[in-house]
């Protein structure tokens, strides 16, 4: 395989994603795991850029790092009283998690085996068009309008539900 600057950066991102992913699942301190997850999500966003999915990459960062991860950390900080917050793993969880991980591994290996050929589309001179416009067209003019609306209603229901649960008179 020809070595280019691009492939170097790509493998850098891949390495970053995998290493920080391993740290997420091995480290015992839950806050460390959360910050490591931030690096993983960043790495995945970088890989999206290499797939020419720039809109998806920015969405990944804004939703997962700026939103979900912040809420996770918020929850941890609000509930823990000590700096060291450790995860306890029982044997049953280990067995269940191992099984699911094995199944996922099998699935991924099957997909990898079935992929006909590995190629970098950009290196072959193809330039993909910006994705933002296509995503917008597909959602608003095309076949994904109904799922999009359903998801937005679902989010609204979740929002109202959260507001309702957090009200004092309902909690008591």
């Amino acid at each position: 395989m020809e070595f280019t600057l691009k492939s170097l950066i790509f493998y850098g991102f891949a390495l970053l994603t995998v290493t920080s992913g391993i740290v997420v699942v091995t480290v015992r301190n839950i806050v460390h795991a959360a910050f490591s997850l931030m690096v993983t999500l960043f790495g995945v966003a970088g890989l999206y850029v290499f797939l020419q999915a720039d809109f998806l990459a920015a969405t990944q960062v804004i939703v997962y790092v700026g939103g979900i991860l912040v809420l996770i950390l918020f929850g941890v900080m609000m509930t823990s009283d000590r700096l060291e917050m450790r995860i306890h793993i029982e044997r049953g969880q280990l067995l269940l998690g191992g099984t699911i991980a094995l199944a996922l591994l099998m699935l991924l290996l099957t997909i990898i085996a079935k992929t006909p050929q590995w190629k970098n589309i950009v290196d072959e001179g193809e330039q993909l068009q910006p994705t933002t416009e296509r995503i917008g067209n597909l959602i608003l003019n095309g076949q994904f309008l109904l799922p999009f609306e359903v998801v937005s209603v679902l989010l609204l229901v979740a929002l109202i539900g959260a507001a309702l649960i957090s009200r004092k008179e309902v909690r008591d």
Binding site: A58, V61, G67, V70, F74, G125, Q129, T131
Partner: protein, 418 residues
């Protein structure tokens, strides 16, 4: 040679400008002796040019906070009828430099009970994210690091990571003040990101592009074409954007995360020396960045006030509108300082009320209004601009009268009920 440098990391708009490749081909290559030129590829040249630009960028942008810190102190002094720093250099111009040197030599204290790794990492997360934002800001014609197709969305994404650094700093310090400060900051930034994003959306709806270049190009042709005056809704969106930006960068009246009278210095209480300076620099860089974004989105970017003139006429063409851009941005920065030294700090409940009960509904209304406006006036004509400016003027007069009446009522002595 379709490599990453020629296309940029992100997908470019229809015609990639590729100034780096042009520069290497036209300027750099002819300068080299023939024996060297044979071994010198355009790609390598572009790597060097990019690294050079990044170097200049990283060296110049931190100078901005240096200027801004001094400006803030001088402005504050004026507001309080003082002179401000006067000792170091003429009119105290070198004061910030002296402070910087002082901070360099200070002890680098790391709380022994804290989380050392995260404590050391946190300033860099904030610093990096603050400066990564500058990569997408068009400072002038052809003066921008990269013309992303998703420019403004990239800026929002990167600046939403800053809050992770704040949480990191607050948590790893293992101090009550720091934790409280970072929790306040997280709640504030996450809340105010919503009206911020929604007011950006009104601009994106009118321009039909996320690219910063396209947004500026859409406002070419003088002050009447600036997006702030294009519709009455963008006019309100600008104010929501600007006020939410002040909340995002944690400045008074929204500086609850670092409220001195309540929680010492907020999330960076435990930091000292150069690490504290990094937070400080990042704060002022953020302030400049949000002002620059506001200028790009609503106030015409580097386009001039008069039609068909770069800034003040032909003479400044060479700078590609940079002087005008800096003047406009500094105007907004001054406005932020003005607000800081005029208004008292909000309470937490007032802060949240303002965001969730006023800004977010108004921002949604703005989006709806912009959509309807776009249906009525599909093309931007002098008529639509005239109607828009008329509506804005009437609205402003109404608001002035309304506020005046309210203030008049307040100032009258209230009959005591007791």
């Amino acid at each position: 040679m379709p490599d990453i440098l020629s296309q940029g990391f992100f997908v470019q708009d229809a015609a990639p400008r590729n100034w780096a490749e042009q520069f290497v081909r036209d300027v750099l290559m002819p300068m080299l002796p023939e024996s060297m030129a044979a071994h010198f590829s355009v790609e390598l040249g572009m790597v060097l040019v990019m690294l050079g630009c990044a170097g200049i960028f990283v060296a110049v942008v931190p100078l901005l906070p240096l200027v801004l810190v001094l400006a803030e102190r001088k402005v504050a002094a004026r507001f309080q009828n003082r002179t401000g720093p006067m000792r170091v250099g003429p009119w105290g111009l070198l004061q910030t430099l002296a402070d910087g040197v002082k901070l360099l030599f200070k002890e680098d204290y790391i709380p022994p009970q804290g989380d050392k790794l995260l404590f050391l990492l946190a300033p860099y997360v904030i610093f990096t994210c603050s400066f990564a934002v500058f990569a997408a800001i068009p400072f002038g014609q052809n003066i921008l690091v990269s013309n992303f197709n998703i420019g403004i969305f990239y800026i929002m994404a990167i600046s939403s990571v800053i809050v992770m650094g704040v949480i990191m700093a607050g948590w790893s310090s293992n101090s009550k003040w720091s934790l409280l400060g970072s929790l306040r900051s997280a709640a504030q930034i996450v809340s105010y990101e919503i009206p911020l994003g929604l007011s950006i959306l009104t601009v994106v709806m009118l321009v039909e592009s996320l690219s910063m270049e396209a947004i500026v190009a859409n406002q070419a042709g003088g002050i009447s074409d600036w997006l702030i005056f294009r519709t009455p809704f963008t006019f309100f969106a600008f104010f929501i954007f600007f006020i939410s930006s002040i909340a995002e960068v944690n400045r008074t009246p929204f500086d609850l995360p670092e409220a001195e009278s309540e929680i010492v210095a907020g999330f960076h209480t435990e930091y000292s020396g150069m690490r504290f300076a990094l937070f400080f620099i990042a704060e002022y860089a953020n302030m400049f960045a949000v002002s620059a974004i506001a200028v790009t989105l609503f106030l015409g970017g580097w386009e001039g006030i008069l039609p068909d003139l770069a800034v003040f006429g032909g003479g400044f063409d060479i700078l590609g509108g940079l002087p005008g851009f800096v003047i406009k941005t500094m105007g907004l920065v001054f406005l932020m300082m003005w607000l800081r030294w005029t208004l008292p700090r909000l309470r937490v409940d007032q802060l949240m009320n303002l965001c969730w009960k006023y800004f977010i509904p108004i921002a949604f209304f703005n989006i709806l209004g912009t959509g309807i406006w776009g249906l009525i006036f599909p093309e931007d004509t002098p008529l639509s601009t005239g109607i828009s400016i008329a509506i804005i003027s009437i609205g402003l007069v109404q608001a002035y009268v309304f506020v005046g009446r309210r203030l008049g009522q307040k100032s009258q002595p209230q009959p005591s009920s007791a």
